[in-house]
Amino acid sequence: MEQWITEIIDPYYLRILILMGINIIMVLGLNITTGVTGQLSMGHAGFMSLGAYTSAILTLELGIPFWLTLLAGAAVAAVFGFIIGLPALRLEGDYLAMVTIGFAEIVRVFFLNFEPGGKAVGLSGIPQQTTFSLVLLLTIVVIFFTQRLLSSRIGKAMYSIRENEIAAEACGINTTHLKVLSFVLGAFLGGLGGALYAHYMYYINPQDFDFMRSIEMLNMVVLGGLGSIPGAIVGAAILTVLPEMLRIVAEYRLLFYGALLVILMIFRPNGLLGDIRLYDLLKGKRKEEVKACQS
């Protein structure tokens, strides 16, 4: 299948599609943490970085099979998601955002000084094992699982934490468990995306996973619409393609990007598809009242 795809799709478009798929996987993860459960995370690049470095080092140093390094990268990120999820129990809103920013910065500085990770030079020569069909398959699997998760009891309980934590607790929902779980799941998908990214780009370096990267992912979630799977997909797709389309304006690219974010937020403050569920789209329904996320 891969051969057939590389024959019919232009390599440049193929590259954008693969990066789009990776972004969709990571943004679906961040959507669980921030969009659904309402725990503002501004350090998702930290999880991505952990996943990328873990998998790349395992591949380069130990020659472990690719799929195992993907799982290992995601698992390491998930462990750190658990660790970062713990302060989330005591902190809220912007205090939590600051802790996640701090976490991502610490991870970045750590890899800048980490000998097996090549320090500031980064790691190069990572075999390119991420293929289009693999990314497509994983994207579909992740969409399927998040969809099942969000329509389950757990997913609904997560939405209720976002809407009103006290009411949720009063209804017998274990908010402690679910908040940590939302971080673990978000981090797992972030790590998975990072591992895929490392095995696609040949080369990673700590600056690939800086604050701007976290912000980019948060933009995708908010632009698409908080708590919505189609929203996360649309947000990730648009914000992956947009910078490419803005290449025609060359050095003014980021200028337009920044201005567009402001304009989009002014005209669509709840994102493009805020809280629209996959189910609603399939049934042709549309929620009239879109509730805003509180944190």
């Binding site: 802790v99 910065e105 500085v109 200028l255 937020m265 403050p269």
Partner: protein, 291 residues
């Protein structure tokens, strides 16, 4: 050695505090993390540089000029990027708008001035004085004095003037303040102006102190200052001052006694520890949740 590091830490900390004040004042009133604030600090440094190189003004005038330009800029950013969103959306959309404004400003400055690091010409006599075992440079003295002066000025403004009273009212309850006849939009606008002016003053002084000005200097400085504001208890003005100085001193101590390559990690590590031990920040008030 310890005393010397303490002086260096105080200098760094008071610049953090100047920037942190802008975050905390805006946050206190509209609960928005103004991510464009770091860029305003950067613009301030550039305006000062421009005034010094093009018109040969002295440090005081450069700072006043930068403060004036950044006041206008801060009010414009508020007007364009935040006011249209106020009151009609979630808390996250103004945040994204702020990030958009931040990207816009840093890119604009990179286009206008180039991405290279610029240096201030020698407008300040950079001699240093020995006070016993401690070496204090004249720029450190200027930073400490000017920061202290600005912070006392801000304190007087908030505590003693009508606009300060209006600001305090708005931070307690925006709606009730509006009902009492306070022009809320104007108060918010002034808050942005004052915060931006403080950041601009910080920008000019840091630009001279470290002798480096570049278009992306605002990101890390903004993050650190925000960390300082959160550490002190966001929304609290004395908290931002204390948080800034604490963060600066601890960061310098960390660099001196632990490792300089982990500089940024030390600052954020301290922040996370403080927040885990005291979730509302050092001087923040614990707000009990209501049903």
């Amino acid at each position: 050695m310890l005393l010397q590091q303490l002086v260096n830490g105080l200098t760094l900390g008071s610049t953090y505090a100047l920037i942190a004040l802008g975050y905390t004042m805006v946050y206190g009133i509209v609960q928005l993390i103004n991510f464009a604030h770091g860029e305003i600090y950067m613009v301030g440094a550039f305006v000062g540089l421009f005034l010094v190189t093009a018109w040969n003004v002295n440090l005081g005038l450069a700072m006043l000029g930068a403060m004036a330009v950044c006041m206008m800029l801060g009010m414009t950013v508020e007007r364009v990027a935040y006011r249209p969103l106020r009151g009609k959306s979630s808390r996250l959309s103004p945040l994204i708008s702020a990030l958009g404004a931040s990207i816009f400003l840093s890119t604009l400055m990179a286009l206008l001035a180039g991405v290279n690091t610029r240096r201030y010409p020698a407008i300040v006599d950079l001699s240093s004085y020995s006070l016993g075992p401690v070496q204090v440079s004249s720029m450190q003295v200027i930073i400490l004095l000017v920061s202290a002066f600005l912070m006392i000025g801000l304190h007087m403004l908030v505590r003693r003037t009508r606009i300060g009273k209006a600001m305090r009212a708005c931070s307690q309850d925006l709606e009730a303040a509006a009902l009492m006849g306070i022009n809320v939009n104007r108060v918010i606008s002034y808050t942005f102006a004052i915060g931006s002016a403080l950041a601009a003053a910080g920008g000019v002084m840091v630009g001279i102190y470290y002798n480096a000005v570049w278009p992306y200097m605002g990101t890390m400085a903004g993050l650190k200052a925000f960390a300082a504001a959160v550490m002190g208890g966001i929304g609290s003005i004395p908290g931002a001052m204390l948080g800034g100085i604490t963060l600066g001193v601890l960061e310098i101590m960390g660099v001196a006694y632990i490792s300089s390559s982990f500089k940024d990690a030390i600052a954020f590590g301290i922040l996370i520890l403080v927040l885990i031990l005291r979730p509302q920040g050092i001087l923040g008030q614990k707000i009990s949740k209501k049903v």
